[in-house]
Symmetry: C2
């Protein structure tokens, strides 16, 4: 029902495709160069022409990127989702691995957050003799 869905049947220029998917034109060309997107056909004037399939693939890539998958992972997902019999198990493995990464990142950031929160809370904002933030960063200049 979205704009993306609306694009199903048409031949699109790169500009339209960009508008519909919200992916930057240069990024689309970049995806093509690094083989995340298939090479599109060209009009007689040399311009790229996209069909509905490309639109769906690009939407897939975009969504995957939003979920934090690397372009390498996206390539793998595309391969697995392709015509040669998707292996749900392999897809699941990629996603589960990615989930581990995300959880580790969250744990790291939360540790950080606690430390910084505590430290900033000690800041009076006035010119105290010792700034707690700088303190925690362990700087003690000789004067």
């Amino acid at each position: 029902m979205s704009a993306i869905t609306a694009a199903r049947a048409e031949k699109l220029t790169i500009g339209k495709l960009s508008q519909l998917t919200g992916v930057n034109i240069e990024t689309i060309r970049y995806y093509e160069k690094i083989k995340v997107l298939p090479v599109p056909s060209r009009a007689e004037n040399g311009r790229r022409v996209y069909g509905p399939m490309e639109g769906r693939i690009l939407a897939f890539v975009r969504r995957s990127r939003e979920l934090g998958f690397s372009l390498d992972e996206v390539r793998a997902l595309l391969r697995l989702g392709g015509p040669e019999k998707a292996s749900c198990r392999e897809v699941r493995e990629i996603a589960a691995h990615h989930l581990d990464d995300i959880r580790a990142k969250i744990a790291d950031l939360r540790k950080l957050e606690r430390l910084l929160t505590k430290t900033v809370a000690q800041c009076t904002g006035t010119a105290a003799p010792k700034c707690p933030v700088l303190e925690i960063l362990d700087i003690q200049r000789s004067r």
Copy 2:
């Protein structure tokens, strides 16, 4: 009490400094190039010689980086922590801003985590007709 503290009084080669701070040699030279570290003096043979001050600055930089400050922020913190009267308020602002970033990132990642967890849980691992992971990524190829 750490190795860093032990380095207080000595003249160090870049290699020793690297060992003491745990910062890669090339990274130290890189920090110098982009003016995060001051230009060190040189021995007669042209090699860099570091004193205790550089060691402390580098330790500060490292800790800041571990806490996720950008090198730009580190430069700002170093400036503020410098001899010209540290402004605790400004330091606090940088840290508080950084804390906001961290919290936003955590919130994002947790949303992601929930979505992916739910999705992966639906995976039986067997070759189901529709893979939930690929589903959520909204790919439905025309067979």
